[in-house]
């Protein structure tokens, strides 16, 4: 296959890995042609027009504009082609994730904590089934990190203060590197791990072997009561607060007249910065839980509220 022709290059194993590799090959080829032409001309000119070499130096090109227009437009056309090519693959990579399997990733100095929806958690590794898109919802507890899987040709920064989602998929089972690619302090180079892509059966087995774990949603439910959320957000509460059943994924009208969709980010912001987006018809009395809940707890709460999605309010 053509991918083996690129020297020292191991083929990408994501569904669009081939597209990225092809793009790389295209870039290499274009550069090789341009460089080849340039070096060829340099060498020919250097040899032929070296001082003292009797050769025809008359009839120099004086009026240069048609050359200028020529190479300017040629470069421009090639550049535009490369731009369009690169962008179309990019849009494919960073498409809005729709994988139904969603996994939380919490980055912190200097480890990756991974939480599966069933409650299984792991550190510095991510097990996933092959040929099935996995939606990663990533958050950082401290500084900016970057989730980088070279074999999947994929990387995304994890910026504190927001959720970042990214869809990953592997087509071949195997163990792949996971790196932190954004400099994050002392042990930045130690913030590495492993992606384990498994056949679906092995994956199911692996999930089972992780021992009985409370599901994230269940733990979230417990937290919801512990932290006192239920004191306000329960049907029988005296505080006038919205019910969270059936909230997830629905549009929410806000008090400033705009509407947002209740996605992970919205729920997260509602807990940390309740005053930035106040639901229409309610008083901004919800206290901020900034600093009171960790990213781990947050994602449990979010999962819990998500799990209420298909209950009638």
């Amino acid at each position: 296959m053509w991918r083996q022709w690129i020297p020292f290059w191991r083929p990408g194993v994501s569904p669009y890995g081939g597209d990225v590799d092809l793009l790389f090959a295209g870039l290499l080829l274009a550069s090789a042609l341009v460089l080849g032409l340039l070096f060829f001309l340099l060498i020919v000119f250097c040899v032929r027009y070296r001082a003292g070499n009797p050769t025809d130096r008359g009839h120099r090109v004086k009026k240069s504009w048609h050359w200028e227009v020529g190479w300017t437009s040629a470069s421009l056309v090639i550049f535009l082609l490369l731009f369009v090519w690169g962008s179309s693959v990019y849009l494919e990579i960073y498409q809005k994730p729709q994988g139904e399997l969603s996994v939380f990733v919490v980055a912190k100095q200097w480890m990756w904590k991974v939480q599966h929806p069933g409650g299984q958690s792991e550190i510095n590794s991510l097990h996933m089934p092959v040929n099935r898109p996995v939606r990663l919802v990533m958050a950082s507890q401290d500084v900016i990190h970057s989730f980088f899987i070279p074999a999947l040709r994929l990387k995304h920064d994890v910026v504190p203060g927001r959720y970042q989602s990214l869809e990953v998929e592997a087509v071949t089972a195997g163990h792949y590197h996971l790196f932190c690619a954004e400099y994050c302090g002392t042990d930045h180079s130690g913030m590495i791990g492993e992606i384990v892509a498994m056949e679906p059966a092995d994956y199911a087995k692996w999930l089972n072997d992780q021992g009985p774990a409370n599901s994230l949603a269940r733990e979230g439910g417990a937290l919801f009561r512990e932290l006192g959320c239920s004191g306000c957000h329960a049907a029988n509460s005296s505080v006038h607060a919205p019910l969270l059943e059936g909230l997830y994924g629905k549009p929410v009208p806000l008090s400033d007249g705009s509407t947002v969709t209740a996605d992970d980010k919205y729920i997260r912001d509602s807990i940390l910065l309740p005053r930035s987006q106040v639901a229409a018809g309610y008083q901004p009395v919800m206290p901020s839980f900034e600093g009171k809940v960790s990213e781990d707890q947050l994602l449990r709460l979010v999962t819990y509220i998500k799990s209420l999605a298909d209950r009638a309010p």
């Binding site: 460089l35 900016i144 040709r153 180079s189």
Partner: protein
Amino acid sequence: MTEPDYLNSAYTLRSWFFTTDHKRIAILYFATLIGFFFIGGAAATAIRIELATPQADLVSSDTYNRLFTMHGVIMVWFFLIPSIPNTLGNFIVPLMIGARDLAFPRLNLMSWYLFIAGGSVTLFAILAGGIDTGWTFYTPFSTLYSNSYVIVAVTGIFIAGFSSILTGLNFIATVHRLRAPGLTWYRLPLFIWSLYATSVILVLATPVLAITLVLLATERFLGVGIFDPRIGGDPLLFQHLFWFYSHPAVYIMILPGMGVVNELISCFSRKPVFGYKFVAWASLAIAAVGFLVWGHHMFVSGQSLLASLVFSFMSFIVAVPSAIKVFNWTATLHKGSLRFDAPMLYALAFLGLFTIGGLTGLFLACLAFDVHATDTYFVVAHFHYIMVGGMVTAYFGGLHYWWPKITGRLYSEYWARTAAVLIFFGFNLTFFPQFVLGAEGMPRRYHVYPPEFQVWNVLSSGGATILAAAYLLPMFYLGYSLFFGRRAPANPWDAPGLEWQTPSPPPEFNFESQPVVTRAPYQYGPDFAAEPQNA
């Protein structure tokens, strides 16, 4: 001898440290920059030794982080940005345009003192506690988590920034107002055009860095969250502000080199630069469009897809003027009469290495590829090809070219060529393997790395050894020439520029009588000798 030259008009320390002569200030800058280059180079040496093996064996990870930060900070702000403008530019610009000094000689001296002050403060930060933020100072790491001397280091860079601004301002005023009679814009040597474009960037971009650093220091000092998400601040805003300065700044670090290469190529092929006007305007186009591409450093940061598309597109557009230049330089060689003196070897090396660096810049501008390559060694290789292979090489070329003018001495051509060839090979051996490393996914700023990357790292470290030796060579033969070199004639290269019309080294006020220009630049060839430029 009618007038003493600028070097022996006075000998006191005072006559150096309080001089307003642009030539002496250039020498002051030159001496300072050599110092900084060696400090930055020593850090690079330590980095490369450490990376020869996958484990940590030479330094701890904190030390490693301090090393590459110090390397980046010093090389960028205290070596490469002032390199050509403040040494060769300071020395040559007034000579080239037939002026007796820069427009504001005292500001020029002040800019050197600011530079020294900024440099000392930053060096103090490095010695006292180090800085471990990377040269990019990304928040919130730099404001909340780094336990190093961030505020001090930032203050040093802030002060040095004013030195840059003063230099840019001085060049702009000089080029506008002090050209010799008859020296119209289209008769200016291209070196002047490129320094003019550089100055525009210096003046317009540096203040944005200044204000960004002020905000950074405020946040860190007062503990308020300007870029801190916990009170609704946005860490990416810092990146936007930083790159709004730093992308244009990379053109500060290449345009002067391109300027030098124009002079070298036309001199040693004895022809005018092909497509003069296109090359001249390309410099300004780079300076202008360069302000619109900063977001290409943030393709994976979570900025909007649309923003990424726009910035990617603009990055391709900004490459067009560079392409124009490369093609015009190549065309300049056509039907020339090529001599391969040392400066020309550097110019040819520049052509090849800059093009490789630029082309790999296009790889990075290509969105889908950048997702894979960003923050890997591919980026490291890209910018070293341009900054070291391009700019530093051009700097050495220019230094050799104008050495006779500056010092009045000739250096050993044999050793100069040897050094040029060695630098070329050492350079490629150091940085080419890093492209492979990056493509295979080795992240940058990594102190330890998976063993499978070792082969290429060893090659790179080996190359760095050759490169270090090659960079040390000129110290010897240029230093030797200062004391024992033959005396240089006024015009050793037989070139038509105004700077060659005055003795080497030039007298204190450059020209004995005001030169008048009657023709376009670069009039080499048989008709050149007949008709002296200096009427």
